[in-house]
Structures are given as structure tokens and as C-alpha cells.
Amino acid sequence: MKIVLFDHSFEGLLSAIFEVFHLRLKDVKLVGKNNHAASFFDEEIWVNTDQVKAARVAKGIIKYGGKSDLTWLYRCFLSELAEVPQLIFDYLRQLMVDKHSGKNDFSRDAVIQLQKINKMIGREKHRMDAFVRFEKTANGLYFARIAPDFNVLPLNAKHFKNRYADQHWCIYDVKRDYGLLYDLESIRQVHLPSVNTLLHSTPANLLAEDEVAYKKLWKNYFEHTNIQERANKKLHTQHVPKRYWKYLSEKYILDY
């Protein structure tokens, strides 16, 4: 078997797929370079990311499957799951034969798997729309930390831009150490070395004057809008899984 390796970008994957088609390779497996364990029996092929080649594959996908296919595959790619590159490749091979989208063929295994992953991505993206908790810092920036299961932050950009058009904000993915920064005009991807990714919230001395008071009000409200007689712990954790509590000010202990 031939193992085709690429860096972990979407363009990298498309470049790799380009090479597989171009060289007419048979019996291949596409693997992101960090997910690969070398084996004695397999031949390894390293593919460099090439924007031109990637663009040609993207164009091909749009030609046969439409734009929605490309977005769909991109979203699945953001899951960072090890099996996704191969699934995308399998899907594309069929797409090039059929010459029309098979995205809704729920009787095909690869499609069902990709649809499932896409659903997971959608859920995570939606969770981030909900679970971002901005903290107003002393310099007026609204700053939030998140640690989503998948790399969904790029999908959230538009939602937050539409919503908070009149405030400076930054959402920082502490797991992947990058964030989106909005400056009233546009959104930039930033890496901020000054952010301590180990903390779950911003230290009190960096916060705006009334920030702690609002955090407390929110937590209070959260507790008082609960109906004791209907307590349902299981349902609660199902909707707000524990791994997110760290960054939700109504769930963590406010030690101010």
C-alpha cells in the first residue's frame, strides 16, 4: 500500500489528492503527517502543499458536486479526525466517476460517515455560538476563551461579526493557540503569545471595572431561573457537557 502524506491544511489534502489522480496511484491511503506511524511494508509519498493544484481540485469538486459539496467536505475536514482524509478521498473518487453529487446518498457507508461528521461539526459550531463568554477587559476588548472539540472557530466568524458589529472582540481557541480578532472593520486570525492558555479566565487585574459584577449577576440569574422541583441533572449535563464548564462563568466558581 502507498501512504500519501501531507501537512494538516485543507489545501495540503487537496494537493495530495491531485497527485494521486495525476500519478494514477492505486491502493493508496491518505494520512496527515502527524497521524502517521511508519511501517516496513508501505511506501511513503510526501506531497507538498501547492495552492495551484489545490485550487484545481477545488474547481473540479465544484464542477461536479457544486459549491455545497466543497463546503461540506471542508467542514468535515475541520473535525481533524484521522480517518477523514481517506473518507474525503473515497468520496471524491466516486464523484469523479458519477459526475454528480452523491452527498445525499444515505445508503452509502462513506456518505453516512461524512454526514455524521458534518453533523458533529455543526453541533460543535453551534455550541461555540452559544458557549462563548466574553469578558470585558480593561482596554475595552471583549475577550473569550474556548476549547472546542473540533477546529470550528473559522465557521463561527460570520455569526459573531454580524452580532457584535460595534464592539472589539477576540475569541481565542486555547487548545489550538490561535484566535479571531475583530477590530470594527474586519476579522483577522491571530496568535497571541501573551494569552496564558492554561487559565480558564482572564486574571481580575486585567478586567474592566464592572466585569466581575456582571459575571456575578449572570451566575445569580442562572441559579434563580432554575426550577428546583424539576431538577434533571442528566438532561443538564447532556446539554452542557462537563468539558465545557471550565469556560462558562455560570458553571465555574467565581473566586473574586
Binding site: 457584535y164 464592572d210 422541583e229
Partner: protein, 420 residues
């Protein structure tokens, strides 16, 4: 701002508002305007969930819990000895804006006890919404309560600023209302509802001609009924709901299991369990009415005035109508598919899409995630396994119940025994 005082008020007025179930923030079309704050054009978002598992989407508070009425089922009734408080208009505005900016909420749900009279109260509610929209350029979601008995002019104005308006019917039957809230009458609830419905219709038709017509209550109207406070049947509740959907173009009717809050002998005693299973069955019925093409008399009628507690209403209907089954998954149309127990609308979509490519067998359906434990008795597909032929309704039901694992199972036995 005096945060300690605000905190105290917030606690009292959130406590008083929490029995209102509605927390939806979807269905509005208000987009961000001139780089202002907020946008409620997308889907609704639940920003968190309380320990009872209910969604927190809006800042849900009363403007005040002072009230001139004495409705037995309500915590803020006049005769109840509780702490009272009232927000100033500006305080509500500040809270909403600051919570919204931190992405805590989707918007505001403002209700109120009735002080002085209906119009005076309604005016204050409108004032908050108006301030948010005009002074703060706030485009988030606003849900205002229509105060029963408020004048038409005020209801008209409310719709200009709010995304949704709601009046709670609370008690589904006339007799119940007479018993628990003798000072109120049905007409007072229906009057603002009618006005808003008419305005929505009018604005919609104007919008077709003139594109710049402003939005009027774009997320429509909703209402709520308390379940289990009086001895109403499921049929009475659902026929009322169906009537409201039809005649008043309601977006939603909510069903709220009564949480005992009073020693009043007319009501279930404190400590009585909240009828959550019943609430769940009513919502299932509601969905069948709105999305699955069922009509109310198919699900509830004189022979079946109450829903089954141990099986869902669709399954219950199917068992009464076995002559309509089995349905061929590979040929049936959308409507027929949607009537198969265990097949929801998402499954219907998947089946319709997938069968364009090939005939579907059991293994396809299983992989799609269709609840075959129920569905298998009501369908045929591309397979020779028709083992389910000629089973009686009773057999099917007991098969499903023994194989299934409902979270409500502990409740079934006790409730079943009651009727047997």
C-alpha cells in the same frame, strides 16, 4: 449602578418569571442595522441550560411582581406573602445590553405583574423595548408579554419593537379559569391576541407591495397552558391548542406541567410531582399536528380523550389504524412515511434522498439511524423478511414495550395500574 440592589431585584424577579416556559429565540428576521448591536436573523441559540435541563436563551424577568390580581395558580398573586420588587426601565435596558454584549443571552423576555391597570403596565413594557431599539440600536430578540386587557393602540405599538408577543391562556378550560382566576375572563386574553394577529397579517401583505415596510412581531405570537392544575383532559388541552393554531396563527403553544406553589385547596398540594411525562406526550402531539400532517381528531377524540402514557401518540394512533400499514418504504410518499412510528422527519428526508440511488433494505435503514424497534412492524422494504405480518395491536405494543428502554419506564407501571 448599585449592583447589590440590582442583584436582589434580579433574584426576585427571575424567580417569579421562571414558570413561563417559552424561551425560543428563533424565527425572527431582524438583521444587524447600521453596525449596531445584535442580530436575530439566524437560528435560536440556547446559551446554557439550567440544572433542570431547560434552555436559557433569553433574560427572562418580570418588570415587577406587584400584582392586583389573585390567580390561584400564580406565584405573584396578590395574596401570596413574598418579597416584592420592581425594576426601573433603565435598569432592565442596562442588564440586557450588558448580558448581550458578553454573549450570555439572545435577548430579553419581559413580562410583568399587573400594577395599577393593564394599559399602564403594557406601556412600561413597551417603553423598555422602545428604548432598546431606538436608543441602543439593539437588534437582539425581544419577547414581550401582552397584558390581558391592554388596549389595541398599545398592542399595535408593542409589535413594532418586539419580535414576539405572547399572552398566556394558562387554564385550558372556561370552568377552570372561573375556579382559579375568577377576576379574569377569556375575552381579556383573546383581545390582544386578535389585534396582534390582524396586524401581522396586514403587515405581511403590505410587505409584499412595499419592501421597506418595517417588521411587525416577526417571530409571531405564542401562548402557554398549565397542565395538571385543574382536572382537564388531554383532549381539552389539545383542542384548545389546535384552535389557537388555526384561528390565531400561533407560532407556538407551550405546555407547562404545574409546579405546586400554593396550599390552596383548589390546586394540587405542594410536593405533588410535576407531570413531566404528560407534558412530554402533549408536546409530541403538538409536533404531530404542526409538522407531521395529523389532524387533532385522529389523535384525540371521544373514544380517546387522553393520550397513552406508555407509548407515544403516533405509535398509539398507528396501533388503532393497523389497516393502513405496512407502508412500503421504497414507494410511499412523504406524508405516508411521516406517519410510520419511529420515523421522524429527518429520517423521512434521508429515506427520500437515499432511495433515489437504490432500493432500501433493513440494513440501510438501520445505518440511517431509524428507530426500527418501533418502525419494523409498520413497514416493508427491499427484503424477504416480513416476519411482522398478522400481529395484533396488543402483541406489537407489548413487543415494543418489552424491547424498548424508555427513560420514563419507572413511571409506566404506576400510571398503567391506575387505569386498569
Amino acid at each position: 449602578m448599585n449592583f447589590d440592589r440590582i442583584k436582589e431585584k434580579l433574584n426576585i424577579l427571575a424567580d417569579a418569571a421562571k414558570y413561563d416556559v417559552s424561551c425560543s429565540s428563533s424565527g425572527s428576521k431582524r438583521t444587524n442595522n447600521k453596525k449596531g448591536l445584535g442580530d436575530s436573523s439566524g437560528m435560536g441559540i440556547c446559551h446554557t441550560y439550567t440544572a433542570d435541563g431547560r434552555c436559557v436563551s433569553l433574560l427572562k424577568i418580570l418588570l415587577t411582581n406587584h400584582c392586583i390580581f389573585d390567580c390561584a395558580y400564580c406565584v405573584t398573586r396578590k395574596s401570596n406573602d413574598i418579597k416584592r420588587a420592581a425594576f426601573k426601565v433603565q435598569e432592565v435596558v442596562d442588564l440586557t445590553i450588558n448580558f448581550y454584549r458578553r454573549n450570555y443571552i439572545e435577548g430579553l423576555f419581559l413580562s410583568s405583574g399587573i400594577f395599577k391597570n393593564a394599559d399602564y403596565t403594557m406601556e412600561r413594557l413597551i417603553l423598555v423595548a422602545k428604548k432598546l431599539r431606538l436608543e441602543e440600536n439593539f437588534n437582539g430578540y425581544i419577547h414581550l408579554k401582552s397584558i390581558p386587557g391592554a388596549s389595541d393602540d398599545l398592542m399595535y405599538e408593542a409589535g413594532l419593537y418586539a419580535d414576539r408577543l405572547s399572552v398566556n391562556i394558562e387554564i385550558p378550560t372556561q370552568n377552570g379559569l372561573k375556579l382559579l382566576a375568577p377576576e379574569k375572563n377569556r375575552e381579556d386574553f383573546l383581545k390582544p391576541m386578535k389585534k396582534v394577529r390582524n396586524e401581522i397579517v396586514k403587515y405581511k401583505s403590505e410587505k409584499k407591495l412595499i419592501k421597506s415596510t418595517p417588521v411587525y412581531a416577526p417571530a409571531g405570537q405564542s401562548t402557554q397552558m398549565i397542565v395538571g392544575a385543574t382536572n382537564e383532559t388531554d383532549a381539552q388541552i389539545m383542542y384548545t391548542a389546535a384552535h389557537l393554531y388555526k384561528k390565531y396563527n400561533m407560532k407556538r403553544v407551550y405546555y407547562s406541567g404545574y409546579v405546586p406553589i400554593s396550599y390552596d385547596s383548589r390546586l394540587p398540594a405542594i410536593g405533588t410531582e410535576v407531570p413531566m411525562l404528560r407534558e412530554n406526550r402533549l408536546y409530541q402531539t403538538d409536533w404531530l399536528l404542526r409538522f407531521y400532517g395529523f389532524s387533532i381528531d385522529e389523535l384525540l377524540n371521544q373514544n380517546h380523550p387522553n393520550l397513552d402514557s406508555d407509548i407515544d401518540p403516533k405509535l398509539s394512533w398507528a396501533l388503532r389504524n393497523l389497516h393502513l400499514f405496512p407502508v412500503d418504504i421504497n414507494k410511499a410518499d412523504k406524508k405516508q412515511l411521516a406517519r410510520i412510528p419511529g420515523v421522524g422527519l429527518k429520517s423521512v428526508y434521508k429515506i427520500l434522498q437515499a432511495r433515489k440511488y437504490r432500493k432500501l433494505g433493513w440494513h440501510h435503514l438501520k445505518k440511517m439511524g431509524i428507530a426500527l424497534n418501533r418502525a419494523q412492524y409498520f413497514m416493508i422494504c427491499d427484503s424477504r423478511d416480513f416476519l411482522k405480518a398478522d400481529m395484533s395491536a396488543q402483541q406489537i405494543k407489548s413487543n415494543i414495550l418489552t424491547q424498548g428502554k424508555s427513560k420514563y419506564k419507572p413511571l409506566f407501571n404506576s400510571q398503567l395500574n391506575l387505569f386498569e
